[in-house]
């Protein structure tokens, strides 16, 4: 697991990774756009260009938007493994693996509810998702 690639963190995204260390998935949101969240983080809104952005904590609930099961190598991963896109309840998409779930299409149904978890990687926590416990998100 520790062989997995560490993200290169830049000044604008420091808060995101600091939040993850505390078990929070933090998003930027645009004030003039009615606190509309966006991803990945940046200190301005990609919809209207405003610099009036805040940091909000995502609920951690989402749904499986799309995925592939990769049979190709990646450092620290044992193929096959699932590469997925989660649609967060807040309306933004992000990449994830599907933790605690076999890389098998029979266990992966589009729009199934997912919940936030974290993977420890070195001194970082990587936001990850797993099938939601108890069904509906």
């Amino acid at each position: 697991m520790s062989d997995r690639t560490q993200p290169t963190i830049y000044p604008e995204t420091q808060f995101y990774w600091e939040g993850a260390k505390q078990g929070k998935l933090l998003l930027n949101a645009c004030t003039p756009c009615g606190n509309k969240p966006f991803f990945p983080p940046r200190p301005f809104c990609p919809h209207c260009g405003s610099r009036e952005v805040t940091v909000m904590q995502a609920s951690g609930r989402g749904a499986l938007h799309s995925f592939v099961i990769s049979h190709l190598p990646a450092p620290g991963y044992e193929p096959p493994f699932t590469v997925a896109v989660v649609m967060l309840e807040e309306g933004v998409k992000m990449l994830t693996n599907i933790m605690n779930c076999p890389p098998d299409p029979d266990h992966l149904e589009l729009d199934m509810p997912l919940e936030l978890t974290f993977e420890t990687r070195g001194d970082l926590k990587i936001p990850q998702f797993q099938p939601a416990k108890g069904g509906a998100a």
Binding site: V68, I69, F81, V83, V85
Partner: protein, 381 residues
């Protein structure tokens, strides 16, 4: 009546393709460039504009002994050469240069090169690569499950893209793969990134190509049959983070680029005799057909699976066999252009009878960039 303003007067691929371990990537650029200059009777001294992607245009200029007054190193993935055609047309039309050489060379298989062609994206590395989709087959394919659920695209339809394109490749002696494929061959080939099997993924090749453009007026003095640009083409981008595509069932970059190209050319879909849609993976012709408006949304997969793009059918598509069967160096857009030019010259081994209008559309990166060119054999319309 409109008259053509810009023409392609030179077009050639590298002498050999597939495995070319004896040449460096720079050498592949040069081999293609020398072939293109030779066929239209030019030397490096005649070239005053140069464009390339995935490689420094200045290095190619120096290597070939060219002193340009116009350079373009726009590098947004494999469609970059289609953007270069558009940019070169604008440069010639505004007098920035007279004769433009666009080169592509890529040692995709032998790896005789200093770096990979695509710029790394900082945000892609920070928020996507860390989850393991390091190679295109596990990243470019990510939207497809969504499209299958929302638009009814099936795995069999995707597999048929490879089957039909192999029928076209069979005409081409230079294609890497000629042997007929069955649906079962494609579905049962090695799993690469479920649901994509190996035969739904492009080849990995060495090779290159080059184009020479000048004004339509000068084109008549060349020994080659001119291929004219109809309108100015189109280009756009959505960006390198595939997770941030606005809608996984349609490419915004394709739609914007295609619309611009069709409007600029003043053509209808029914005017198009021949179509090239860059196919790094089997889903791209499906998105291309829909996003350029040849079929309605959700109809692309069935259109191909029903055989409507195969030899002899209504819309000849990827008539060289595409990246799936012809070759795929990594930045395949140059090869889509080369086949478009051959078709308009009437010299393709898979020649579409009486074809007068070809649309060449490419993707850059993984649904990141897009560009569209409209080629024609006619000097006025």
């Amino acid at each position: 009546m409109s008259k053509a303003a810009i023409a392609i007067v030179g077009a050639a691929e590298t002498t050999r393709m597939g495995k070319v371990p004896e040449l460096s990537q720079t050498g592949l650029h040069a081999d293609a460039a020398l072939n293109a200059m030779a066929e239209c009777g030019l030397t490096p001294a005649d070239i005053d504009g140069i464009a390339t992607a995935g490689h420094d245009a200045a290095e190619i200029a120096q290597y070939l002994g060219i002193t340009p007054t116009w350079l373009d190193s726009t590098s947004v993935g494999g469609c970059s050469f289609i953007l270069h055609v558009r940019h070169a047309a604008a440069a010639i039309a505004t007098g920035l240069c007279k004769t433009v050489l666009i080169t592509h060379g890529e040692s995709g298989r032998s790896n005789n090169r200093a770096h990979r062609p695509l710029f790394p994206s900082m945000q892609q590395q920070e928020f996507e690569s860390i989850y393991g989709p390091l190679f295109p087959p596990a990243r470019f394919t990510l939207p497809v499950m969504r499209k299958m659920k929302d638009d009814g695209l099936t795995i069999e339809q995707l597999a048929m893209v490879a089957v039909v394109q192999r029928e076209w490749a069979a005409f081409h002696p230079r294609a890497t793969s000629h042997d007929p494929l069955t649906l079962d061959d494609v579905l049962s080939s090695k799993m690469i990134a479920w649901p994509f099997t190996k035969l739904m993924c492009c080849l990995v090749s060495d090779g290159g190509g080059a184009l020479i453009l000048t004004s339509a007026e000068r084109a008549k003095d060349f020994p080659t049959k001119p291929v004219y640009l109809r309108g100015m083409g189109g280009e756009s981008c959505e960006g390198p983070m595939i997770s941030q595509m606005e809608d996984f069932t349609t490419s915004k970059a394709f739609r914007v680029s295609g619309k611009a190209a069709f409007e600029s050319a003043g053509i209808l879909h029914s005017d198009v005799d021949h179509l090239m849609l860059y196919d790094a993976f089997a889903h791209l012709p499906v998105y291309g057909l829909e996003d350029l408006g040849f079929v309605g949304k959700g109809e692309g997969g069935a259109f191909i699976a029903e055989g409507r793009t195969r030899p002899g059918a209504e819309l000849p598509l990827n008539t060289n066999g595409g990246g799936l069967s012809y070759m795929h160096s990594g930045m395949y857009g140059m090869f889509a252009l080369q086949e478009g030019v051959r078709q308009m010259r009437g010299t393709s081994p898979a020649q579409v009878k009486d074809a007068k209008l070809s649309v060449v559309h490419g993707v850059g990166g993984m649904f990141s960039g897009a560009a569209t060119a409209v080629l024609t054999s006619e000097d006025q319309w």
